[in-house]
Symmetry: C2
Subunit: 462 residues, 2 copies
């Protein structure tokens, strides 16, 4: 069987991928994917599987985009020594992401009669390749086996599902082990710090760090994973997967979803509907050290395991003290409604603070952090069970849920946002009894791309 062994990665195959994808894009026709990818048909469809988010634009999607129900986040490590390989990868990623977000396959599928019939059913008329595509496909497309289809085909017919794809750059793109691999060291933004070790951190190396970041969010789990899977293939020979992680968010539509601890999560986020708040807290400005980051953001990812068994064994009243909010209504303690303001000054008749000293919302509220705010866009994760020997609680050494929060926060400067807030939380938060940070990463997320250009062009070309 000729296919018993996959051929070794071929550099040539990869390097041509970018141009093949461009060729593919060009063949889609006036009403096809290409136009949609320009951002001309953004829509929050009533059917979440039919929602389409623009890919190109001032900012990348998936940051202030209303949160989709699922995510797959991943980090890759660059293995190449060549700057041009990195650029070619970013070009290929940009083109494929533009297609994917519009509900198309990562690249055109092979032509055959059965495929045509099948794909016609899916009502995505741009997915079967033209003769020109086929040629491009045969000669250029595909990272390793030139004849493998450029898309795994597992989400055919599922719809675009509001997919957004967000790319980011880790510290390792700029310098790794003291080496300036791609001549970018001098362009590393000061805000892209190496995160300090926080109190209680139990980081697992294989779930931490990464040179490149992909965040795919969609209203379907398989669609989110599918995107990362195709993009990761395009990196073959240039970068390898470091970690990947799927997440979900179950919320009644239009309401704040509850996390696995049973509390509404996201209530006191700065409003994405207020551009001045986003400019202040989320979007990076054109700093002298990194003008190319203007319109981008800095993203912190933390994999935070929650000992749900332990949490479930505590009383609701205690749980509310931990967060500083009521469980069922989501209101700040002592208040009635979810969106009532958090008043840290309020005291009970004995002069004790109504919102407890070491409660999560007191410690993380902007009034405790010099006015700092971050935009949280976290998801729950659930990876079955595992045997744990960990800090909290030390006497439990047994099979437990491997579930928790993929904490995702976007901010204009992590030195003012995540870092000081988490320093406080890591030391004092009552919630720490139930949570363990096991993964961590930080990325500079550049601004959006213009059609014809690619994500990160500003870093490489100005």
């Amino acid at each position: 069987m000729a296919n018993d062994q996959p051929p070794r990665p071929s550099r040539r195959g990869f390097l041509k991928a970018g141009s093949a994808a461009v060729a593919a894009g060009a063949s889609l026709g006036a009403t096809g994917v290409a136009q949609a990818a320009l951002g001309k048909t953004p829509a929050h469809a009533a059917d979440p599987t039919m929602a389409v988010e623009p890919f190109y634009g001032l900012h990348q999607g998936g940051i202030v985009t209303p949160q989709q129900s699922h995510t797959y986040v991943a980090a890759l490590d660059l293995t190449t020594e060549k700057r041009d390989d990195v650029i070619a990868l970013l070009r290929a990623w940009t083109d494929a992401a533009a297609r994917l977000t519009q509900g198309a396959t990562a690249g055109p599928l092979p032509t055959d009669a059965a495929a045509k019939t099948a794909l016609a059913d899916t009502k995505i008329d741009t997915q079967v390749e033209t003769k020109a595509d086929a040629k491009a496909n045969d000669t250029a497309y595909s990272p390793t086996n030139a004849k493998a289809a450029p898309d795994s085909g597992d989400v055919l017919g599922l719809g675009p599902c509001g997919l957004t794809i967000t790319f980011g750059f880790g510290p390792g793109l700029f310098t790794k082990d003291g080496k300036d691999r791609y001549g970018l060291a001098s362009r590393r933004p000061a805000a892209l710090v190496d995160l300090p070790r926080f109190n209680g951190d139990q980081l697992i190396a294989e779930k931490t760090g990464g040179d490149l970041f992909i965040q795919a969010c969609a209203n379907d789990q398989q669609v989110a994973f599918h995107a990362v899977r195709q993009l990761s293939r395009l990196a073959s020979g240039v970068a390898t997967m470091r970690w990947g992680q799927s997440g979900f968010l179950s919320g009644p539509r239009g309401q704040t979803p509850r996390n696995l601890m049973g509390f509404k999560d996201g209530t006191n986020n700065p409003s994405t509907a207020k551009p001045q708040l986003m400019n202040e807290f989320v979007w990076a400005g054109a700093t002298a050290d990194a003008p190319w980051m203007e319109g981008g953001t800095y993203t912190v990812v933390r994999r935070i395991r929650i000992t749900l068994e332990h949490w479930d064994n505590t009383e609701v009243g205690f749980q509310e003290q931990v967060f500083g909010r009521h469980k069922y209504s989501g209101a700040p303690i002592g208040k009635k409604n979810e969106f009532d303001p958090v008043d840290l000054k309020e005291e009970d008749k004995d002069g004790n603070p109504v919102i407890p000293e070491n409660s999560h919302v007191r410690l993380s509220n902007q009034a405790s952090n010099n006015g700092a705010q971050i935009l949280r866009r976290s998801y729950s994760y659930n990876e079955g069970t595992n045997f744990y020997i960990e800090r909290w609680p030390p006497w439990r050494q047994e099979t437990e849920y491997d579930a928790g929060l993929i904490f995702l926060a976007h901010q204009s400067d992590p030195r003012k946002g995540f870092i000081p807030i988490n320093e406080k939380l890591a030391k004092f938060d009552m919630m720490n009894q139930f949570t363990t940070h096991v993964g961590s990463a930080i990325f500079a997320v550049p601004p959006g791309a213009k059609p014809g250009s690619y994500i990160g062009a500003g870093l490489f070309e100005t």
Copy 2:
């Protein structure tokens, strides 16, 4: 802080749980949960989050129920020595499952004004406890901490989501390490065999086996997990989690969903709409050795990892040879439509079989297996990435997706169903190059319960 350390499990607390749940059920009122749980309001609602499946009935739900979009399957090991503990657990599980499937909490929540307001919004009017409930709650309910709420509250407002909960009994309930722990050894059905080792099996002990089985399926990921989480709490002091596993299925509504390999999966299942097929292949009869299994079934679970990276690198034509079906249409090779019959006799002009000798569908088709059929009801799983050193392909030792198929098959007798079919597949299936069985379990799934009774009553009480 009084809650710094969770109290040790209390046997007393658990044993009373069953009666508390009954008390709770009784207080729900004529239009409440209790009636719905009797199976009087089955409905496949247009909105999948509002779908309600009956809990009580001749058969358990989740077997011939149209497949929901998500599952959480789990196995527990019994730690108690007492038969009565097992019965009390099954009673508590039955009552809680009846509530949960109807969209209620596992037990009534604590009363407070904020909770009432919050829960009123969710439009599930049975979730706030009455005074009588509160008394039962305070004195009896809760496995370990008597004051912890009987429900984690994380799916409030999400709707019943078509939840089904299916319980099963592993070999260890009957005999474990040669011991007849609960006086049930003589009642073990012959069909509940210990699965043999199959060619290529790479089973991980912590993902294999189990004395008790819970399969929760729902149109929402968090709702499925929530059910197992509450049920597992009820087992505190009597059984511990052995493994848990979440799964999903993304399909355009009304079409056969594609698995992660990109092929439509489930096409050639025996039709659940044909009672005679279900009676022949799925439902167990009243055998002399296990009359209590009549109307039940036998369930095999296999966690099958797929090396997606390797698969994605093969050509579509080759992939079709592996399965014996066309990828995009799902039709048998050489045919046009998905539901065209699989004709194993067909030959090409050179006399070669059109559906290859070692293809998956040829080997598993009933014509190759003395007419045997099984009802597959599998889900995909996706647990991020892991570092692998495994059989296939041996030269890949790197971070790979920890994703694949939670194979779930129901059948009247695994000695005629799963075992012979998988013996053949394990030896000859071309797909084995891309798959590794890493988890395995078998369970006797008893018939459904009558209101007032409990799952498994026939085993313990006749």
